[in-house]
């Protein structure tokens, strides 16, 4: 809401600069969004001038050379291009040094050989209107040299305030003045509606108003005027409208807008001679009904919209847009002036649906008080009489009335301090509430509070009164304390701790964490080659997505990992090593089946190259498996892989990750067909359900004593058929090696000339250690024989010499 400060100060004028006032109101809840200067930057060097004579410029057809009295010893010469300048006019003059609204600073300048010692101003140049066809001619009277600001509103500071939705009473200048009064203790002038030239007895020219939908129109008030003369508004009024961001139109429309800006209540003026039958009916529109609005558009209506009918049918969409038929025009002489109260939520929906938001609908949608209608009517009545020569007919139409009285509330001052942690005395509470327009009476130490009509929706409970006290007394005066924290612990849960550990483990191994979109394209499911009936096809679908390509919730982290990989690869990053820790979603009977997943994607090289050379490790299955082992090792989860073909993974290079029987996730190389869709080469991925990992994680581990007897080390070379899984060989070695076999490490896998075709040679490093004695070579030889026997029996394996 734009508030011209000059206008505000008419009602409350605290001894503060604009900046200080804005800061003070911000602290009490009316936030200063920005402030600026409207019109002349400062009043200096702008004066009233009297044109003594006008002569043709010798060197330019369009220019005139004027002699202007500006209150100095000698008149000054001013070159002027306006066609309407004439001797004998009183005019607005800018002297050198003046700062004009458009930002120019005037200097004495030579125009076609003649020095002009200033400028005679137009309405436009003073930001008082849009007229730049000629200079502004002032009423005769003021002495030349009088500062222009004493005659004209030549400029004002404007503050734009953010008004919270609970405070529609602050959508008018007087409401802001009341806040300024409460916040600064500067006196508040009587409300502008206290002087109402209208009356309440009489038939208001016989106009009839019927409200068929009182739920949507709780109150409809109106007055009738005749002898109206349509014309331009006076400069002071135009200046205020412009500074408040509204365009002047005509004295009648400007009067209604001025009253709206002042009171917060919008009004509408009908040309009564064009209201058929001199009657209005307020009703819900019929579905399919159409209406041509003021902007020339034909609009289709529905039963949520409210229309205003005269005897010939609909004239306007209530509270949103007038109709062309009964609009005030230059020839209007009789006016029906309406101020009504509407259901805010309905107006909001309607304005949104029609795409028509205006200063008026923006106020109505906040839910105004029915009491504001008569206030706005009073202000406008006075303006129409003063500015348009109108005569108000006796009587005020009032359908609906003011509604029920606001309930009386009780405020216990000790409850104020108990909620705020403050020490505000009862008298201060009383003072604050009274300044805000509440009627307060102290009864037995408690405050009996009567809520004014304009706060009826917002203040309904004791706690609402406490808020009023808190904000006006000043939150800056509150101490900063900490809550008692009874029973507070401040610990991460085990799954939360594990999540951090897992993320840190991957980052510590050189991976970068991404944060992807939860939204995915339904086409993802086909791109991942998911078969019909796959669990991941069971997606959560958004009913009103931003676009079709963002219409499902990702069923797997692969969605965002692949997108991020493509993004970087397409920007010439060859090696991408990333992970994501986030939620994935599948449809469920109630809400969704969500779990926190951890996913890894590697493409390019699995590790940065060393200057010492050495083989380049590709981002393959085993690179991914190393990271999987690291994360599950940190979690203390014993896991196994079960060969499983996933649709989106490379057949034969993919597996399910298991902890016992529990499936934790998948690992594998991406199917080349899938990788190609994301423009990726060989890519390895895995993803785990971290919730399940947390469930399988080891709890506190007990200490296990370790022996100090020396170990016996032994290397084994085993040849097995290549169809045998290395993991099985190791398991056999472990089982056969007995309890003294401490370590089994695979350090080479070889297939080639040295071994039989179809076979592979494995090199294992074994360590034997007993916890109660030093093992002998003989004992180890026995174990070695047992291992050889088991390998032969189980896998057809053979020890090499």
């Amino acid at each position: 809401m734009l508030v011209p400060v000059e206008w505000l100060r008419e009602y409350c004028d605290p001894p503060l600069s604009t900046e200080e006032l804005a800061a003070r109101l911000t602290l009490t809840g009316t936030k200063d969004e920005r402030s600026f200067r409207y019109g002349a930057k400062k009043p200096d060097h702008l004066v009233v001038g009297f044109v003594r004579s006008v002569a043709q410029h010798p060197n330019a057809d369009r220019l005139r050379v004027c002699t202007v009295d500006v209150g100095e010893a000698e008149p000054v010469t001013i070159v002027c291009g306006a066609p309407n300048v004439a001797a004998g006019q009183t005019v607005a003059v800018a002297r050198p040094g003046a700062e004009l609204p458009d930002g120019r600073t005037l200097t004495a300048a030579k125009l076609r050989g003649i020095v002009s010692e200033g400028m005679i101003l137009s309405e436009d140049e003073l930001a008082l209107g849009s007229d730049h066809s000629g200079i502004l001619v002032l009423a005769q009277g003021p002495t030349p040299g009088t500062p222009l600001s004493e005659v004209l509103p030549s400029g004002t500071d404007v503050i734009e305030f953010e008004i919270t939705p609970n405070r529609p009473d602050c959508l008018g200048i007087y409401g802001i003045a009341r806040e300024a009064h409460a916040s600064t203790a500067a006196p508040l002038a009587a409300p502008p509606w206290s002087d109402d030239p209208g009356t309440f007895s009489g038939d208001a020219g016989g106009v009839k108003v019927t409200v068929e939908c009182p739920d949507l129109c709780p109150r409809f008030t109106a007055r009738v005027f005749d002898q109206v003369t349509i014309g331009e508004s006076p400069l002071w009024l135009k200046a205020r409208l412009l500074a408040a961001g509204m365009r002047p139109i005509s004295n009648v429309v400007d009067s209604t807008n001025y009253a709206m800006l002042l009171s917060g209540q919008p009004l509408h003026a009908f040309d009564l001679d064009r209201v058929a039958g001199a009657e209005l009916t307020i009703r819900r529109a019929r579905a399919g009904e159409t209406l041509e609005t003021l902007d020339g558009q034909v609009r289709e209506l529905d039963s949520d919209l409210v229309v205003i009918d005269d005897a010939d049918g609909p004239t306007s969409i209530a509270a949103i847009m007038g109709g062309a038929r009964s609009e005030v025009s230059d020839s209007t002489t009789r006016i029906l002036l309406e101020a009504a109260n509407w259901d805010g939520a309905n107006i909001q929906r309607s304005a949104l649906r029609l795409g028509l938001r205006s200063e008026a609908s923006a106020r109505f949608e906040k839910g105004l008080s029915p009491g504001q209608t008569l206030e706005a009517l009073a202000v406008t009545t006075k303006l129409l009489i003063d500015l348009c020569g109108a005569r108000v007919l006796p009587g005020t139409i009032d359908v609906g009335g003011p509604g029920p009285d606001a309930p009386q509330l009780t405020l216990q001052p000790d409850r104020v301090n108990r909620l705020l942690g403050s020490e505000i005395p009862s008298e201060r509470c009383e003072e604050i509430l009274a300044a805000l327009g509440f009627d307060v009476l102290e009864v037995d130490g408690a405050l009996r509070v009567h809520v004014p009509h304009f706060r009826r929706r917002d203040v309904t409970r004791e706690v609402d009164l406490i808020e009023e006290v808190a904000r006006i007394d000043g939150l800056d005066r509150l101490p900063a304390t900490l809550p008692p924290r009874n029973g507070a612990a401040g610990l991460l849960t085990q799954p939360q701790r594990l999540r951090r550990l897992a993320e840190d483990a991957l980052a510590a191994r050189g991976l970068s964490e991404i944060v992807g979109w939860s939204f995915a394209d339904p086409a993802l499911l086909d791109r991942l080659r998911l078969p019909a009936g796959d669990r991941m096809r069971n997606v959560v679908t958004i009913d009103n997505p931003l676009s079709q390509s963002l219409s499902i919730m990702r069923p797997t982290l692969l969605a965002s990992l692949l997108d991020a990989a493509r993004y970087n690869v397409s920007r010439d990053v060859d090696d991408v090593r990333i992970f994501e820790s986030g939620t994935v979603y599948r449809a469920a009977d109630v809400l969704a089946d969500e779990h926190h997943a951890l996913g890894v994607l590697l493409t390019g090289a699995a590790a940065p190259a060393s200057w010492r050379g050495g083989p380049r490790h590709e981002a393959d299955f085993f690179a991914a498996k190393g990271l999987l082992e690291a994360v599950l090792g940190i979690a203390g989860v014993e896991f196994s892989l079960e060969r499983t073909d996933w649709a989106f993974l490379y057949p034969g290079r993919s597996a399910a990750v298991l902890a016992g029987e529990q499936r934790l996730g998948f690992i594998g190389e991406l199917h080349p067909g899938v990788a190609a869709l994301w423009e990726l080469g060989a890519t390895a991925v895995w993803a785990l359900d971290l919730g399940l990992v947390a469930g399988a994680a080891a709890s506190t581990t007990a200490y296990k004593a370790f022996a100090s007897f020396p170990a016996l080390r032994e290397d084994l070379a085993i040849v097995v058929p290549e169809t045998v899984a290395v993991g099985d060989v190791i398991a056999t070695v472990r089982a056969a090696g007995g309890r003294d076999l401490e370590t089994v490490e695979l350090f080479d896998v070889y297939a080639g000339e040295q071994v039989l075709p179809g076979h592979v040679s494995l090199a294992l490093h074994l360590e034997f250690r007993a916890d109660d004695r030093t093992l002998t070579d003989d004992e180890v030889a026995t174990e070695r024989a047992a291992i050889a026997k088991a390998l032969a029996e189980r896998h057809g394996g053979e020890l090499r010499a």
């Binding site: 612990a489 970068s512 590790a607 200057w611």
Partner: protein
């Protein structure tokens, strides 16, 4: 001269000779001279048995120690004399190998953890809840009017009429209250959704909300808690400014500004306007307030009597906090996941 004195004398003498040796042959001679089978020190050690019992241990231990030290000195001097061969110079400017690359947490994760840690330290626990949420928990339980515009399909993603993508993490607070009677101190970090998409809004973003319900929790307690937060996240000298505001789920409601860490009262050293706070000296950081009695009324049956309990709640955007701390110019950078962005933060 006692045996101990003699050992010390031998050690001094031998050390000087070893240090002065200039070739390996000379060293070998010294070894024989001082440590050889028939030299004085070993003889002395062998004769310990004939000493007075009170001296045996001291002499034996001193002799052995001297022998070990002299052996080590001779080896060291040998290595020194072999000099040129072991002292090969490395190009120490070469990078480490194999490389141990630094990885990174995402800036949102790093910032979230920083904020979590502040509140963990203050005694808050971390509560979590579903992102696909009941309309009831997302709106009704939080005193959101049935006609409130935030419920509109232009402002909320719907799954069906009764299910939404949560627009804030506040429903987690409701769930936390249902799960546990007061006293309750929780923060709820997480992902939330609103259908906006421009330079200042992304359709998904991250919030951290907090809730404290206990005996006599006050607005002053909220101020102190947020002051502690501001100082740990933005620096020791920060102040907080509470401005009255409006939220349906709190009463009184406040917006909280933190004094700008980039300038002094809005101006930089060179006198220009601070670009971060745009000259105001304050940064708008979060919304907060005292829990509205209507919110407690919703969970009344779980031990939250609106007549007797009080509490405060607050909520902030993680992206915004990170943006302020690190000067992130555009929200979309968070979700592009460009490695050149990711690698700037969260090093591990």
């Amino acid at each position: 001269m006692t045996a101990l004195d003699r050992i010390a004398e031998l050690q001094r003498e031998a050390e000087a000779a070893i240090a002065g040796a200039t070739d390996p042959k000379q060293l070998e001679g010294l070894r024989l001279h001082y440590l050889g089978r028939k030299s004085e020190l070993p003889m002395l050690l062998r004769g310990v048995g004939s000493l007075d019992p009170s001296q045996r241990v001291a002499v034996g231990s001193a002799g052995n120690q001297t022998r070990k030290q002299l052996e080590a000195m001779i080896s060291a001097r040998e290595a020194e004399l072999a000099g040129g061969e072991i002292g090969e110079r490395l190009d120490i400017s070469l990078p480490g190998s194999p490389p141990a690359p630094t990885g990174h947490l995402h800036l949102i994760t790093e910032t979230r953890r920083d904020i979590e840690d502040v509140f963990l330290g203050l005694g808050f626990s971390i509560a979590e809840g579903p992102e696909v949420e009941h309309v009831e928990y997302n709106f009704d339980a939080l005193n959101t009017d049935l006609t409130h515009p935030s419920r509109a399909r232009t402002d909320t993603f719907y799954i069906d009429d009764a299910t939404v993508l949560r627009v804030h993490t506040s429903p987690v607070q409701v769930r936390a209250m249902i799960a546990q009677p007061p006293p309750l101190y929780v923060i709820a970090p997480g992902r939330v959704y609103r259908p906006d998409n421009d330079a200042t809004h992304t359709p998904q973003f991250h919030q951290i909300e907090g809730l404290a319900v206990d005996d006599g929790v006050t607005l002053a307690d909220l101020k102190g808690t947020l002051l502690a937060f501001a100082r740990q996240i933005f620096g020791e000298d920060r102040e907080v400014l509470l401005r009255p505001h409006y939220f349906p789920f709190t009463e009184p409601s406040v917006e909280v500004d933190v004094s700008c860490f980039n300038c002094a009262s809005g101006y930089l050293r060179d006198g220009s306007l601070c670009p971060l706070c745009k000259g105001s000296g304050w940064l708008e950081v979060l919304g907060a307030g005292m829990v509205d009695p209507n919110v407690f009324a919703y969970v009344k049956d779980y031990g939250y009597d609106p007549e007797s309990v009080t509490g405060f709640a607050f909520g902030m955007g993680i992206e915004r906090i990170a943006m302020l701390r690190h000067g992130i110019p555009d929200l979309r950078l968070y979700f592009d996941n460009d490695l050149r962005f990711l690698r700037q933060f969260g090093a591990r």
